[in-house]
């Protein structure tokens, strides 16, 4: 078992075009590190230099937005499904 991660179009350049990839870790932060080891560059698109989730992306663990569940500290386990989506936002 592993954690399935759905990758949005904009980040598929890092995953060889794959829509979904697999990774492991106890927390979202660990999962992102694991993913970045297999798909270099991915972490930089998700996490800022200050170590926070980018405001341009939304990350969901089992359909729950991680902003409400502890962000990168959110606990994850085998069998969970993680979805990454670019935020749709803007303004004048």
């Amino acid at each position: 078992m592993a954690i399935e991660v759905r990758i949005p179009t904009i980040l598929r350049t890092h995953t060889g075009g794959n829509k979904t990839v697999e990774g492991s870790g106890d927390t979202l932060a660990a999962l992102v590190d694991d993913l970045d080891a297999k798909h270099p560059g991915l972490k930089g698109r998700l996490v800022t230099e200050e170590g926070k989730l980018h405001r341009f992306v939304n990350v969901y663990v089992n359909d729950e937005d991680v902003r409400f569940t502890g962000a990168l500290d959110t606990q994850v386990k085998d069998g969970d499904s993680v979805t990454i989506l670019p935020a749709v936002a803007g303004g004048c």
């Binding site: 341009f56 969901y60 936002a89 803007g90 303004g91 004048c92």
Partner: protein, 157 residues
């Protein structure tokens, strides 16, 4: 170039008028790779603001799930500017993440407090935003995708 049918064009304009002076936003989905905006999906502006728009995160997830199930993608991502021109702002550009999407900007800046008054046309422009570079494109409004470029009046025998 963006080719869009009259009904969808009108629906986007109507949404912008309706939500004025707040920014309105939404997408028009179409079959993956088709470049045809077919399914109009107005979204709630979670920011409810005259200067910012944002899809609610739960709505966003549902939208992408739904499009995924139907093998669709966001062909058009639209939003309105209610006090400035229909041109992507720096914020718009920084958030733009779909290189294949047509970013449609409509402006109701001449509408003041309310819309629907005489001469308050809605500006409607379309852009590609790729790697932070904005390029405007032509917009062609077709009466219907069914008939493509054929005349607007079709007479059946």
């Amino acid at each position: 170039m963006l080719r869009i049918d009259r009904a969808t064009y009108d629906a986007i304009v109507a949404h912008a008028r309706e939500d004025h002076p707040d920014e309105a936003c939404g997408v028009v989905a179409g079959p993956e790779g088709s470049d045809r905006p077919e399914r109009f999906i107005p979204m709630l502006n979670a920011a409810r603001s005259p200067t910012f728009y944002e899809f609610d995160s739960a709505d966003l997830l549902r939208l992408y799930r739904d499009m995924d199930d139907r093998d669709e993608e966001a062909v058009v991502v639209y939003h309105s500017h209610t006090a400035t021109e229909a041109y992507p702002s720096r914020t718009d550009v920084s958030y733009a993440s779909e290189p294949n999407a047509h970013y449609v900007l409509v402006s109701t800046r001449h509408h003041g407090e309310r819309t629907g008054l005489e001469g308050d046309d809605v500006e409607f422009r379309s852009f590609r935003i790729v790697d932070g570079q904005v390029s405007e494109e032509d917009v062609e409004v077709v009466e219907s995708y069914l008939f493509g470029h054929s005349p607007t009046t079709v007479v059946y025998d």
